[in-house]
């Protein structure tokens, strides 16, 4: 007996090669599919990584933090980083009468705060390595030149000589957990190196909050965490004499810190530009360079090394080579760029606008 033949169900009406139900044209289907794809693309980002950015005025400058991550995570991380920066801003501000640095300067109170001791230690280490080119005890000279006040002016050589006696990192006694001084008139300004510490701490807070891609810009001192998508973060280096940048460094997990004669300066009666960076050895602003930028892993000491280069000029290039891990670009007063080989490879040299380039080593 033959098995019963199962008859196919009555065919439905199809519009094309039995592929589409009746009433659904290919165009309609295409449009519908496109709409679904677009909708899906739009919804896809609800929990995906986005770039969040916030700018605030703090630490006597403006601070911008960009962080990549889920929106809520990134926002919380940025908020936490700003909170940490506020704490550091207070603690390191020698002008704040309640800060330990003020107490050290005015009342000779020893510094025992572990954070401050750590930063002073780092500063003194750069001083020792650079033969005193960078020195946090330069404060009386900066004050004498009027850069803390309203009307900076060229002081007399006699006043400079008198002030130089109060300057010298060797007057600081750095012991485990404690900083004291040999002379009561020795005072410190941690301004520059505090920004480096702040970068380091903000980066630590962001990482602890789960962020592995961020860019912290603390008034031009920049630290890059990870990469921006599949590319390194790009940091422009300001042209010291006109609007725009002289080049762009592509960096990841590196600090980019610049010192220049164009942020705080005045023209003397001799029409010479005098900037706020003072050579602790001479008591005068250095000549020859108008901008120095360092690129290195440790943001804490980057500002120190940037100032060492600004003060010592090309003479300091062998020193940073010996120290290792520091790349630099120096701009001379004739707008010539001197770039260390490592930075040349990390720089978009096609953007070296308005300067001529030459190898540093």
């Amino acid at each position: 007996m033959r098995a019963p033949v199962r008859l196919p169900a009555a065919p439905r009406r199809w519009s094309i090669a039995r592929g589409l139900p009746d009433g659904l044209s290919p165009l309609r289907l295409l449009a519908f599919a496109s709409a679904v794809v677009l909708l899906a693309a739009g919804c896809r980002h609800s929990g995906a990584a986005v770039l969040r950015k916030q700018t605030r005025l703090m630490m006597d400058t403006y601070v911008t933090i960009q962080a990549t991550g889920p929106a809520q995570t990134a926002d919380k991380a940025i908020e936490a980083a700003f909170g940490r920066l506020e704490e550091i801003s207070h603690k390191f501000n020698f002008l704040d009468s309640t800060s330990p640095v003020h107490a050290f300067n005015v009342n000779n109170a020893p510094i025992t705060d572990p954070e401050l001791v750590k930063v002073v230690q780092a500063a003194v280490a750069v001083s020792a390595a650079s033969g005193g080119a960078f020195d946090i005890t330069v404060r009386p000279l900066v004050e004498l030149w009027g850069f803390y006040g309203d009307h900076p002016a060229v002081p007399s050589q006699r006043a400079i000589d008198s002030c130089l006696r109060m300057v010298g990192y060797k007057n600081l006694v750095v012991e485990p957990g404690r900083v004291t001084k040999l002379r009561p008139d020795v005072t410190i300004d941690l301004g520059g190196i505090a920004k480096g510490y702040a970068l380091d701490e903000a980066a630590r807070v962001l990482r602890a909050a789960g962020i592995d891609s961020a860019l912290i810009d603390l008034g031009g001192d920049v630290f890059a965490i990870g990469r921006k998508g599949n590319q390194n973060w790009k940091v422009g280096i300001r042209n010291p004499r006109k609007d725009g940048v002289i080049g762009v460094a592509a960096v990841s997990n590196l600090a980019v810190v610049t010192s220049g004669d164009y942020e705080r300066f005045f023209f003397g009666p001799d029409s010479v530009r005098y900037c706020h960076i003072i050579d602790p050895a001479t008591g005068w602003p250095p000549r020859g360079l108008i901008s120095t930028t360092v690129v290195m892993r440790d943001p804490l000491t980057a500002q120190g090394w940037s100032k060492v280069l600004f003060i010592r000029g090309t003479d300091a290039l062998p020193l940073i080579e010996k120290t290792g891990g520091i790349e630099a670009i120096l701009i001379t007063d004739s707008m010539r760029a001197i770039c260390t080989p490592g930075l040349v490879s990390a720089m978009d040299t096609t953007r070296l606008n308005g300067v001529t380039n030459s190898a540093g080593r």
């Binding site: 165009l27 309609r28 449009a31 700018t55 605030r56 031009g220 422009g236 609007d243 220049g260």
Partner: protein
């Protein structure tokens, strides 16, 4: 051949126009934004005072109208602090600024001028 194959209704046309038009519109908007001059965002004490196109020359007073703390000038696609009662005048020394990403800060007056727009190939500026 089934005529349903090529039957296009008004709804189809509207849907297609919408799907093609939206991305096109988005492209045109982003292209125009890229061509536009940067916008200056002016903050006082971390509070946004306003956003100003740089294509319209104007003088913006900050503070008391009768006796402003600062006067910010926009001229020829650039912005500067023209007058400020701050002691050091660092903000005035910044001069004219026109590049997206650049900022002028007046710490005593707690004023920040930030230029936003298409930054030419970098995420931050070291200075």
């Amino acid at each position: 051949m089934n005529r349903n194959l090529c039957r296009v209704t008004v709804l189809d046309l509207l849907l297609i126009a919408g799907l093609l038009g939206l991305p096109g519109w988005a492209l045109i908007v982003s292209w125009r934004a890229a061509r536009e001059q940067p916008v200056a965002y002016i903050y006082e004490n971390n509070r946004l005072l306003g956003a100003y196109q740089l294509d319209r020359d104007q003088l913006i007073a900050i503070g008391d109208k009768a006796r402003p703390d600062m006067k910010i000038e926009i001229k020829g696609g650039a912005i500067r602090v023209a007058e400020s009662d701050c002691p050091k005048g660092v903000c005035k020394q910044a001069g004219w600024v026109r590049t997206p990403g650049r900022s002028i800060v007046c710490v005593p007056n707690k004023v920040l001028i930030e230029l936003r727009g298409e930054r030419k190939g970098y995420d931050a500026e070291s200075y």
